[in-house]
Subunit: 288 residues, 2 copies
């Protein structure tokens, strides 16, 4: 066990953090629904990761809320372990030496009923092979990024993430913002998915506890800023044209997730839970 | 020029056939719209294939009809030529020797307003590199494949394609039907896209004129059978539940096209016309 990464010792805390953050996020979102006069609740679907030999592969819980403010809000936590199939080992740091892995994380996608409220995505995770690292990020997708309101929302979102980054490393925000801009881009359309945010992967600084503290702060920042943006915009009036435009923008979101999102494609190829992976797809989309 | 495939000589006829078939298909579909009391017409958008050096790369025409029976019907013809980029040469028969290509074809996707009418896809094409071949196929996607009506439609569709195949080669139908079943399958869902049909590629028999005659017969078969199926079902009553179910099945169609369809992915990677390639996506889809 001497060749195990120090992240091994963080596994219980990491899994507990992702679950606790999930509970706080869900509470924040149902509170918003209540403010809008809705008693919408999350529907929870636990799932187990199937393994070829019947061993315990872990599992997760998908929570889905269909409400008045959140047209479709999916929050998934999972803690899984197993062995990477031979064809994936070369792509995963530390898996060529030993294919066993452990992974825990939270992911969230919010598609909003009101087109004036931006959609949002957030996820953070810890991976352990013979190496250990953190990954994650959050990004905002206003339907009309060019409006003053959308620029204000994007600015608030970026400010919150920048503060979280700056508390840990002055290089984090510029690096992770640029990574997000590169990642959430539709090359076939020549357009970004939205207004960006931050994206990071294979984060493995000298002290895993410090990386974990950063990841927790990213979660806290999202928990503070996204509900704030939602509350600012949820009562904004909108037209049928705004709704139609939102549904077309959601089509682009589908294109990104199915054509380009590495997480989605990797999940589908490695036999992850289909419903949890495709939870990110919008409730309704149009290609007129 | 002695090393050119015999398909070279067929280029003008092939391009003319695809365009003529397009006109007949469009006429058949607008006739159906008229029978339903609609004067919906195709909107035609010509496009040119951009080339790095400004040379003539050919182009095509996308025709889109949004009608009462056909909620979204896209028909595209194109005749393009150029050179395959180095990264694609190994995948294309005959392109390793000389990267130049010529391609002409027709493709069609029909998403229906009435959930009791199956969606359909059809395409045929001729490719010329230092080799020449035909490809194409057609497949039917009933929304509820298990009903008696859907089985009747699938049976009529398969019978028409089988007749076309059998007139040319007794091996064609069983081989191309099985190929279609393998191809139009969603591995992440473990389910077929629809009720199948035929699919073939790299068809290069001893006599290209005979292959071309087969491809024409496949077009004639589709032109005869699909409008017939549409007329049988277009007035069928349906419920809001049928419509909701149709929108969810269309979500699966999107998943197939963006995750698995080689034609879509190849087109996007090789800088094809985005709107023409994504014309296949449904006007509206749901992931509730």
């Amino acid at each position: 066990m001497t060749d195990r990464p120090p992240h091994d010792a963080l596994r219980p805390q990491a899994a507990a953090w992702f679950a606790a953050l999930r509970d706080r996020l869900c509470a924040a979102f149902t509170a918003i629904e209540a403010e809008a006069g809705s008693d919408a609740r999350f529907l929870a679907t636990p799932w187990r990761r199937p393994t070829a030999d019947g061993s315990d592969g872990g599992g997760g819980e998908m929570r889905l809320l269909r409400g008045r403010v959140f047209e479709k809000l999916g929050v998934n936590v999972s803690t899984v372990s197993g062995s990477f199939a031979p064809e994936f080992r070369a792509q995963i740091p530390g898996a060529a030496e030993d294919p066993r892995f452990w992974a825990s994380g939270i992911s969230l996608v919010a598609h909003m009923a009101n087109p004036k409220v931006p959609a949002a995505h957030f996820n953070t995770r810890m991976l352990v092979t013979t190496q250990g690292w953190f990954g994650g990020g959050g990004d905002l997708t206003p339907m009309r990024p060019e409006t003053a309101e959308s620029r204000e929302d994007a600015s608030a979102f970026h400010a919150a993430l920048r503060d979280a980054c700056d508390r840990h490393d002055p290089d984090h925000y510029p690096r992770f913002k640029a990574w997000c801009d590169r990642y959430f881009f539709l090359p076939h359309r020549g357009e970004p998915r939205g207004a960006g945010g931050i994206f990071f992967d294979h984060l493995a600084g000298p002290d895993p506890a410090a990386d974990f503290a950063f990841v927790r702060d990213v979660g806290e920042a999202f928990l503070e800023v996204f509900p704030r943006i939602v509350r600012t915009r949820m009562a904004a009036p909108f037209t049928p044209e705004d709704r139609e435009h939102q549904l077309i923008r959601r089509g682009r979101y589908v294109e990104f997730n199915l054509l380009h999102d590495r997480g989605t494609l990797f999940g589908l190829k490695t036999g992850g839970n289909i419903e949890a992976i495709l939870m990110s797809l919008p409730p309704e989309a149009r290609w007129p």
